[in-house]
Amino acid sequence: MSIKIRYFASLKDYIGHSDDEIIYEKTLTVTQVWDLATQKKMKPQNTLVAVNMDYVSWDDTVNDHDEVAFFPPVTGG
């Protein structure tokens, strides 16, 4: 299973880069994707997550070729 990971805004600064990819054999939750991609780095409070550009919760599962994005609260407008 191949999962593309993206980080935005302050979270990109915190992680140190904007993209990751993980290859894994079993189904993962979003929380497990975070732990694998960041080597269990502490998750900043209020971090949001989207899978394929829709908001999801941290317990949701991720499928092959999904794009998972982590980012801070949005501040547009």
Partner: protein
């Protein structure tokens, strides 16, 4: 119901006029137009701001904005709506966002415009980074409720 992300400055009143002339001028059912324009101010949290950079998530931003617009059109009887939102470097006094709604009756235009704007603030993936006059940079951590605090 266009959703437009622009990386260059735009003039909101000119954009509105052009859109109305091109798309809505034959529509005699319009009885109400409501317009919100958000511009960049030169202060935040007690500091003078020199420039602001707006980052977004291409694809997701448009998807979320279209979801918000769809919900507004389901909830109120709208004839049309328009969103224009800036990304990139923005200077004080430049427009950041335009939300316009058109309907036959004012309640729908008023309420839907507010709904779109408030949902944009909480769901559309944009992030502001401010550069202060002393060149220090900082991310805006969260949006406020939109009212002046004394």
């Amino acid at each position: 119901m266009p959703v437009i992300i622009k990386n260059t400055p735009f003039e909101p009143y000119q954009s509105l006029q052009q859109y109305e002339k091109k798309t809505l001028c034959q529509n005699n059912a319009i009885g109400a137009s409501n317009i919100f324009i958000g511009t960049m101010r030169d202060f935040n949290e007690g500091d003078q701001i020199k420039i602001m950079t707006l980052e977004h998530y291409p694809g997701m931003t448009e998807k979320q904005l279209n979801n918000i617009v769809d919900k507004a059109h389901q909830q109120w009887t709208l004839i049309d709506s328009l969103i224009i939102h800036r990304v990139g470097d923005i200077l004080p006094n430049e427009p950041i966002v335009l939300v316009a709604t058109w309907s036959s009756h004012r309640g729908d235009a008023f309420d839907a415009c507010r709904f779109i704007m408030e949902n944009l603030k909480s769901k559309a993936p944009f992030w502001k980074k401010e550069r202060l006059i002393d060149e220090q940079e900082r991310w805006v951590l969260s949006n406020t409720d939109g009212y002046h605090k004394t």
